[in-house]
């Protein structure tokens, strides 16, 4: 991969996605060793810059960097310090003065990583920008599916929930369709609006409209705190029409994969018995997350050169 940055899966060529997934598959082996570390990125500095709270994505990236022997620096920016007046660009200028090789950024505004990527020489990895993209999450989802299916070509993936405001959904939609899969989406009208025609998806309504056709069902977390006024009547209404419970799972294909980017709301978008059931690959997703993020850092930071130096 010759790119400097990972900004999103929109427009990313198939060969590049394949390269990332194959590299990630080989990175998994490191995590199975007794000493879970390789010297590939020794001496390189990876900074995590998270403007929104996140535990799992951040720790996953940090662990990935550590397994490649990179130095990591967590730059915590609470919402309060941005309201104190420092702009994103000024924060980035400060970090740039520390000579980082890569910045992993999560930010509430779409395009924030793009702004940094074109303004600074370091690599920028998008760990979620507003409602736009969350590419490493989609890549780990695709790696998980690939482990079960070999290829994504011709498969059908249903994504259920708040498609409109989900960066996980957007990145998955771009990535999955590039890899030849078909994507169905379902959710309440306020979360699955007709403007979704801008994305390569088939829009349905309730989970019953998609459950029987899918090879994988990806349930999105309902983030009520993020919603505007009058978007959703109640949690029980949501569970009744859009939640995945055991009865619905029985109507799905027997080999179906149940996925969730976490953290889950048990009993709302997904039943506890489904989340913990045999079709669930939710914890595989977590394991694959580290491998995918190792692959991304390795490919973007020119891991090959680093390895030769070592």
């Amino acid at each position: 991969m010759t790119k400097k940055d990972l900004l999103g899966l929109r427009g990313m060529p198939r060969a590049e996605i394949e390269e990332i997934l194959s590299t990630a598959a080989s990175m998994r082996e490191v995590g199975r060793r007794r000493i879970k570390k390789v010297p590939t990125l020794r001496g390189r500095l990876v900074v995590t810059l998270f403007f929104e709270n996140s535990t799992r994505t951040r720790t996953s990236f940090e662990l990935a960097a550590k397994r490649l022997s990179a130095d990591t620096l967590g730059f915590s920016v609470s919402n309060s310090s941005t309201t104190k007046g420092e702009s994103l660009m000024d924060t980035a200028r400060n970090i740039h003065a520390m000579s980082p090789d890569a910045i992993i950024i999560r930010h509430s505004c779409a395009g924030a990583p793009h702004l940094l990527a074109r303004s600074f020489p370091f690599s920028v990895l998008n760990a979620g920008d507003g409602i736009n993209e969350h590419p490493s999450q989609a890549l780990l989802d695709m790696l998980t599916m690939r482990d079960h299916w070999g290829s994504l070509e011709g498969r059908t993936v249903a994504i259920v929930g708040d498609i409109q405001h989900s960066r996980v959904a957007r990145s998955n939609i771009h990535g999955l369709t590039t890899m030849g899969a078909r994507v169905l989406v379902a959710g309440p009208g306020t979360m699955c609006r007709s403007e979704l025609s801008g994305l390569p998806v088939e829009r349905r309504h309730t989970i019953d409209d998609v459950v029987g056709e899918a090879d994988a069902i990806m349930m999105l977390r309902i983030q009520r705190e993020r919603l505007g006024r009058a978007v959703l009547p109640s949690a029980r209404e949501y569970a009744a029409f859009y939640g995945l419970d055991l009865a619905r799972l029985h109507r799905a294909r027997p080999e179906v994969l149940v996925m969730h980017p976490g953290p889950i709301n048990r009993g709302v978008e997904i039943g506890a018995d489904v989340a913990d059931g045999e079709r669930s690959v939710i914890l595989d997703q977590v394991t694959n997350g580290i491998a995918v993020r190792m692959a991304l850092l390795y490919l973007l930071l020119g891991g090959r050169e680093g390895a030769e130096d070592a």
Binding site: M89, A110, G111, A112, E195, S197, G198, L199
Partner: protein
Amino acid sequence: MRDFPVFATRSRRPAPLGLVVNDEVASRLLWVPAFVDLCCDPGYPGFPVRETPESLAASALAGGFSDLVMSPRVDPVVDTPEHLSRVGGALNGVRFHPAAALTVGLRGDELTETGLLRRAGAVVLSDGGCPIADTLVLRNALEYAREFGVPVVIRPADPALDAVGVVHDSPLATRLGLRGNHAASEEIGVARAIALCRATGATVHLSHLGTARAVQLLTAARAEGLWISGSTPARNLILDERALDDGRYDARLRVHPPLRSREDRHALIEAVRAGTIWVTADHQPRAPEEKDHEFERAVPGSAGLRSAFSATLSAVGDLACTVAALSSGPASLFGLATTALALVDPEGAFEVRAERSLPPDALQGHPLRGVVHAVAVG
């Protein structure tokens, strides 16, 4: 190359402009009525980082404008006769005509002293781009303004829908992961303003039009004989939402209301050609540091005075239409008499360049046609 023998307006003695052009350009130069902007929102006083009277006059003259109607949306809001002189006046031949706030503080609840403001020189009343939420207040404001014969400038929008989104709500917005501002907001605002214009008999001008349906509604209202007119920012004739499709999230393109669809843009061009709507520069300069942000966080607005003529001419393709939309139309709203002239080359290539000393313009980098060479003020 030769000096172009230029003469100022009738009222003045001939004077050389100091303009040096080659014969080919000289053969294309034409004097046209200088332009009048209805919605100049330079942000001073109150925001010196954006513009000063000197830089504003320079931008106006560079763009062929001799008269600017100044938005009341400054700090503090121009809502009393005492405040009018802070924005009115003239500099280097450019006349700044004050618009007064339609409601106190532009808050949308109390009426301003329309009669006193009129007497002190306010040429129009304006909502300053802040839609009035309470329809009863808007109706009363129009009733009251009618009796003093003051035109009212309204940016049509539904206040609740207007507050949502940073780009046109569309499949493209969904693809970009940016929250959309729906065209229905403007349509509701236009329909409401037309109904109240009909109900009150006030003279209403709808600024910042951006949608095809707004044009349809306005066309029907004018055919009905209502005293209502409309205008669109010149950039809306060149740019539409597809300018954002490069995925750069370029904050220069962050304007409010947002750039709409291609179909909307075509409808606006047709409406200018037909004389249904006029054109404004929608000059809302922003300091570079106000744009050096994430798209959603950047302050909306763009400079417009230097590019308005070229953008309009390039889109409309006809000089007479362009001049009517930028000069005689807007001047007629408040009975402005002007003898100022602009010297233009309708064929010359023009491009707004990014300059650190000038506020960013959304049209930067777009090849346009039509160059303003000079303004002779009366």
